[in-house]
């Protein structure tokens, strides 16, 4: 039997209701994709948290590097006008 050393780590995403998007809830060990879904069911959906599960191998995720965060994110800091709060919405549009 495999030991936990060669069990992959999976990132688990759960959709709590139809119409909402999947949200990251945590990670777990599993020997393959199908067992990752089953383990996620047992670990993360015992209290009716979800209607759909995604499992993604952790190594398939590319993350931004913390030391690059300045060039990546700070240029947006002084551009508050990118928020849509500065536009007037015509009454005819109603609720957006």
């Amino acid at each position: 039997m495999s030991t936990k050393d060669n069990w992959k780590i999976w990132e688990i995403f759960i959709r709590s209701r139809n119409g909402l998007s999947h949200k990251h809830v945590g990670s777990l060990h599993a020997p393959d994709a199908e067992m990752a879904i089953k383990n996620a069911r047992d670990v993360y959906t015992r209290r009716s948290e979800g209607v759909s599960i995604w499992a993604v191998e952790s190594e398939a995720i590319t993350a931004s590097a913390p030391d690059e965060s300045e060039p990546l994110f700070t240029p947006a800091d002084d551009k508050v006008y990118r928020h849509p709060t500065f536009y007037e919405i015509p009454d005819e549009v109603g609720h957006m």
Binding site: M1, K4, H29, M35, K38, D42, R46
Partner: protein, 250 residues
């Protein structure tokens, strides 16, 4: 008829209770956290099913019988579970083999029990079938992975399958209690369950590259109250606290 219904209820309830107790032994000892949680979940599912059935059995007994009294103050010979569920856990593969053989039976059994003429058993079946369907899927996945896994896992799961096979015959033998319950429209015709079980087990064993053990000889007696040497130890652990402090409350 009353007597037989009680025994029938206890057979189902005791299967759930004893298997739940056995699976509970894995809590904190699973090979990996996720598998530990999975088995503990199943132990709790079994316990939930056992409670409904013990409550029903206690009502049938009447008087001051309660679900706790049914569970904790009956001795080995008064237990009516099949022998398979009381066997020791062994290694992970052996627990999976026992689980797969029993879950597959349990799934088809409860599917048939959904149309029982007894409202209470029908109600239990409605709750249980959702849980049991998942258990059966889950343990089948493990059989496939262990059988079609490494050389060692293949060898060990085949050994477990061979060892446990002789305890499966009892699942499908029908005695007078079964026959009377079937005639009353309450019980399940186990010959039909056997056909479905054979088909599913063969299919999974093939996917798992495992050999089906031969049907030479089968153990029997659990349903009638004749148990292996293991059940006494299971009951001792499960019952000693309520027996030492019968009036204790949470």
């Amino acid at each position: 008829m009353k007597e037989q219904l009680l025994e029938y209820t206890l057979r189902l309830g005791d299967n759930a209770l004893i298997l739940g107790q056995r699976l509970g032994e894995w809590c904190g000892h699973g090979p990996i956290l996720e598998q530990d949680i999975a088995l503990s979940n199943m132990a709790l599912d079994q316990l939930g099913q056992a409670r409904m059935l013990m409550q029903y059995a206690a009502e049938q007994k009447g008087g001051d019988y309660t679900e706790d009294k049914m569970a904790f103050f009956r001795d080995v010979t008064e237990y009516h579970n099949c022998l398979l569920v009381e066997l020791e856990n062994g290694d992970w593969g052996r627990t999976m083999a026992r689980q797969f053989l029993f879950d597959t039976y349990n799934y088809y059994f409860y599917t048939a029990l959904l149309s029982s003429a007894d409202e209470r058993l029908k109600e239990v079946a409605h709750k249980a079938i959702k849980e049991v369907a998942y258990h059966a899927q889950w343990s089948a996945e493990w059989i496939i992975r262990l059988g079609d896994g490494t050389e060692e896992s293949h060898r060990r799961i085949q050994e477990s399958m061979d060892d446990l096979w002789e305890w499966t015959g009892e699942l499908f033998t029908m005695d007078d209690v079964d026959k009377l319950m079937i005639e009353a429209g309450i019980g399940v015709d186990l010959s039909r369950v056997k056909e479905q079980w054979d088909q599913k087990v063969d299919q999974i064993l093939e996917l798992a590259t495992l050999k089906r053990p031969s049907d030479d000889w089968f153990q029997s007696g659990g349903k009638q109250g004749e148990h292996s040497e293991y059940l006494g130890f299971v009951l001792a652990e499960m019952q000693h606290l309520p027996r030492m402090h019968p009036e204790a409350e949470w």
